[in-house]
Each structure stands twice: as C-alpha cells, then as structure tokens.
Symmetry: C2
Subunit: 356 residues, 2 copies
C-alpha cells in the first residue's frame, strides 16, 4: 500500500516512473545491462541525455542561445557557481530576501562578490514576497528564489527589471510555462519536480555569459566547460539523468507545462480552500503569495497540531510536518504528487475531530 | 540474459545488488515509500548514510581522526576541492605524472596553487609508474592517482615520503586493505567499485586540514562544512548513497577488503596469464605496474583486433574497447565483476581463431 508522501524533497514521483526506473536498473531495454552500468559515453546513454535535453528545450520552448546542462551538486552548488561565472571580481548582484533559500544565496554570493539585499521579508516572518524596492544601477543581475520551499511563498509574477534574472527554481521548475528570455541562468535540483536527488538541470542563456571576466573560474565550475562537453566533461550521474528523462516524458505525456500548472493550481486550491474553510486550521503565507507547490499552514493550537499529525500518520500521510523555523504543517505538491493524495489529505482534515 | 560488462565505469555491480536497489526504489522495506522519495533528513535515510559511513570506517579500520564524507561531483570535483582545502595561496603540492588522471589533477591544481610535476611516464606512453624522483622541500602533499584507469597501471606500493599522500582512488577504492595513516585525503567516485554514478566518498584525515589558511574556501566546498553537517549540509544524492550501502554490505559479506584483493588478483591473473600465453595478444603496461582493475592489451594487428572485438560482441562481452589514446582492449574488473565473466572472456580468447 503506497503512502501519501507530502515531503518537500526528495519528493514523490508517479508510481509508474519509479517502476520503469526500477525495471531499467535491472535490465535496460532488454539489453542484458543495467542502465546504471552503461558508460556515460556509450551511444545508449548519450541518447538518454540528448532526449532529456531536447525535452527540456521543447517543454520550455528554449531559444537556440540557451544551453541545457546536467550537473551534479544541486542548486546549492549553483548558488556559488552562478556568481563565479557571471560576476567579475568587483561586480555586484542584487537579491530580495524572501526566506531560507534567499539567505543561503546571499551567503554564498557574498563569498564571491558584492551583494545588494534590496528588501527583506524577515519582519513578517517571510509570509510574503517583498515587491517594493529599488534596484541599484551597478547590479549585474537580480537573483530570485522563484519559490521558497520552507516558507511556502512563490513569485507568481517575476520582478520587472532591465537586468537578467538568475533563478533558483528548484521547487517550481517545470511546473508552469515561462518567459525564459528574461532569465540569465535558471537552475533546479531534480528531487522535487522531475526526478531523484543527484542531478541539477541548469539553463544557461549564453547571451549573459561575460566575454572577458577578471575572475578565473576553475575549469570544473566553468559553464563553458560543460557547454563545450555537452555535460560529459566528467561522469555525469547517469541514473539520476535517466530518471529525469522518465519524468520529462511523463510531463510531456500529461500535456506539458500548461497542464502541470493546471494540476498544481487544482491540487493546491483544493487544499487551501479547506485550510480557509476549516476553523481548525489557518494558512501561514499571505494569500496573494501562497505557493502552489508548498502549502504551509498551522492548527489553532499546538495540542490540535500534534493530534492532527498523529491522525495523518495513522492514515498513511507522511512528510507533512513543517520546517522547524516555520512550524505547523507543510504539504508539498510537486509534479509527481497525485490529486488523489491531496483529496485524501483534505478528507482527513474534514474528518478530523480533535479531543480538546 | 546478462551481458559480461567490462566497462571502465560506470561499471557492473552484482546482479543481486541491482535487484535489491530496484526493489527499494519501488518499495523500501515495505514502508509504502520509495527509498528515493524519503527526505535526506528523515530517520530512515539518516540510518542509511550512517550505516554506509560505519561500514567504510570498519572496512578500512579508520582511526577516529578520519572523517567520512559523502559528496556530489565525483573525483573530478575533488581534484579542485582538495587543493582548495589543503593549500594556502602560495603553497605548493607535488605529483607524479602517471597518465590521464594525473594530467587532469595537474591542470586542476595549477588553477589554484603551485604544482611540482616530479616525473612523467609520457615518454613510454604511460606504460609504467615512475619511481625515481626527488621531492621538493616545499611540497605540502604528494598527489597520487592510485590506479590509472585508462592506461591500466597501478601503484602496488605507495611512495615513501614524509608528507601526506592525497589519493584519487576512484578506480581501486575498497579493492584492498590500506595503511590509511599515510594519507591526508582519499577520494573515490562510486561508479567503479562501490555503486552508481552520482556520489563520491571522501576520507578526510583531520590532522592534515590547515588551521589557518590565507585562502577563503567557499562554504559549499569547505570540508569543514560537510564534517560539521555530516554530509547533510545540502541534499545528498540519496539513492546513490543507498546503492553504495548495498555494495558496502556486499563487500563485507564477501569477506571485506582482503577478500576483495584476493578476488581482484585472481580475476586479473587469470586474464593476464592468457594475455601472456596467447600469441595473438600482448599486454601494454610493464608487468610490475599492471593494474589488477584495468587490464590493457592489444592484438598482434589492427585486423585481428577488430575481429576479436566483433567476436566478443557476438558472445555477450561488452565494454572492452580500449580508450582512444591507448587503443586495443581494456578489460575492467572492479569489485562487482564476477569471476565467471573473466573466465568467459578468457575462454573466448582461447577459442578465437582470426581469419588472416
């Protein structure tokens, strides 16, 4: 019996994807080989990574001057790699402090360049996206965390600025269509919306890469290295790429990014409607900035909270406890989350009778 | 029907390990969850990584002052990360040029520090390990590539020096017992001897970490970050760690590192004996430095070579073509390679009748 897993990431994938991935681990396409024992340079694997790349290009309708890279290290590594590649030694970038991942981005970028923190949502405990701020003239790009996984807030409209956006999109990559031309770099770890932990998809708008930088980027972290080698400069994590391919095929078969967005909105609306209706619960973020991927909410008292957690646990719901800094509950509903699981959770909220 | 896969990496693992890994991808320990959808901070996964760590400690009998890290990025990333962590801005390290991976190490280290190349085997096309050289007094450590995967040469005795060794052990990690006290850092990608691509095991001798360095190592690449966070500073590639755990359990059940060494020697001796006996083939490396993991050999003519490749392909042997710079054949026989596969290959060599 499958659990209903609302974990924030690594997160659930459709059962059929896990099953296909498991089958290929034992015998890939009746080849007598596991997909994981095939060389990253063998034609069979090169086909896998090329198909994954072309599906990302197709789903996002990427222009030719965008490159798709498959790299290890997660979005956390890109928080250092992106400034290294985009900023000279005396350059600066700008960022809005939207929460946990914005703070990580600020810390990582400050080790490498000047950082302008334009505004912070800390005064309201990161329950909203700050929208009123001034961009300094010297900022080379604006870093945005498109969705703050921990606080459950999301940009539904990206800031209108004249410089490129660099986006950590780990928690909403491939969850809706995008006007990619406004972005310089987009990166996302796979383990939320399109795979398992171990691979990062990086979209590089080659128009924003500096031609002459006074910073010497080590070869292993230079985007040019991986563009020139089509992500095969070193052994790419082959199996995580394969699982990403299976998810990309699944996303396309579902109907692409517009359909992913429809499903995200449908799932999260069902849950937020119950949060707003049910007098035992309340949402944490302001409504206009609520994330459609991570719904953060709390119960009317700590006592009711622990009773509901226990009730969830008895009824096959896992991964719903909120992050310690926020508390309460967090229900993560990425691409791989079935509507049936959200319906199950909402039914539990309706049925739940705390003993007060 | 399983193929006999002699690929240099990603490489074959025991069928039972692939099967266990596939089962856990669909349903981990009858939990109703895939191992890949469990949070890296959940107790179920923390148990996985802690067991993997303690098995590495046990197999290598690591002293307390060694830390075991699980990091993304492969050994190639460590070629930059190790010098960043160990060397100040004006420090130098030494290295012997033993082949492809030594050259990569030299290039990566030169971007960060002074590199003394002590000796090179290039004049003899990297068919041997240079053993006569002088160590400069200012070298902080000696980098060694314990086994050169591409050229098929291996250190059977490590150099006797008074400074720590830093070893890229990707192709012979966990393949024999080791006197770890002579090493400062040991790192290895998993996809040869103990798992699938996507995770790197790094052993850090904390005695060699500099206390005050004038180099500011970015947090994400600072060994101290990952020591303090027990490899969970960011989302570790959970599934590759799980597969590594299965391989570590398998290695222990086989009898540990002494038994891995016995098996490696038995497999490679069987093959080298046939290479030396059979007038159609000849070994490439000098005998005393031959790798027990990667046997490089060629046929007496290009014509015979392509006929034998074809014969292998018709008889379920794959991954045996040599690297372009070396040519000929390369049979890789890591921990996961069954003796039966080597016996099968040797029998093919005996049966092979080229049409001349």
């Amino acid at each position: 019996m499958r659990k209903h897993n609302f974990s924030p990431g690594p997160a659930t994938l459709p059962q059929e994807v896990f099953q296909q991935a498991a089958d290929a681990l034992v015998d890939f396409n009746h080849s007598g080989l596991s997909i994981a024992e095939i060389s990253h340079r063998a034609p069979e694997f090169v086909q896998v990574i090329e198909e994954a790349t072309s599906l990302v290009r197709e789903l996002y309708q990427l222009p030719d001057y965008f490159e798709v890279l498959w790299l290890p290290g997660g979005a956390s590594t890109q928080l250092a790699v992106a400034p290294m590649n985009l900023l000279g030694l005396n350059d600066s970038m700008a960022i809005v402090d939207t929460g946990f991942w914005a703070l990580r981005s600020i810390d990582a970028a400050r080790e490498l360049a000047q950082v302008h923190v334009l505004e912070s949502a800390s005064a309201t405990h990161y329950d909203r996206i700050p929208k009123a701020w001034n961009l300094p003239a010297d900022a080379k790009y604006l870093h945005v965390v498109s969705n703050e996984t921990i606080e459950g807030i999301q940009y539904h409209e990206y800031p209108q600025v004249d410089i490129p956006l660099v986006a950590d999109m780990t928690s909403d990559f491939l969850s809706k269509p995008l006007d990619v031309d406004r972005f310089g770099i987009i990166f996302a770890s796979a383990q939320k919306n399109f795979g398992i932990a171990g691979i990062t998809c990086v979209l590089v708008n080659t128009k924003v890469l500096p031609v002459n930088s006074d910073r010497k980027v080590p070869t292993i972290w230079d985007y040019q290295t991986h563009i020139q080698n089509q992500s095969l400069y070193y052994t790419v994590p082959t199996y995580p790429v394969y699982v990403a391919l299976l998810m990309l095929r699944w996303i396309k078969a579902q109907g692409g990014l517009r359909e992913m967005q429809n499903q995200s909105v449908a799932k999260s609306s069902l849950l937020y409607d119950e949060i707003d209706r049910n007098p035992l619960f309340e949402g944490i973020a302001v409504k206009e900035d609520r994330s459609v991927l991570n719904a953060c909410f709390r119960a009317i008292s700590p006592e009711v909270e622990s009773q509901f957690l226990e009730y969830c646990s008895q009824n096959d719901v896992v991964g719903i406890k909120g992050f310690p800094t926020v508390g309460g509950f967090r229900a993560s509903m990425y691409n791989g989350m079935a509507m049936e699981s959200v319906q199950h959770l909402v039914q539990l909220m309706k049925n739940f009778k705390p003993s007060l």
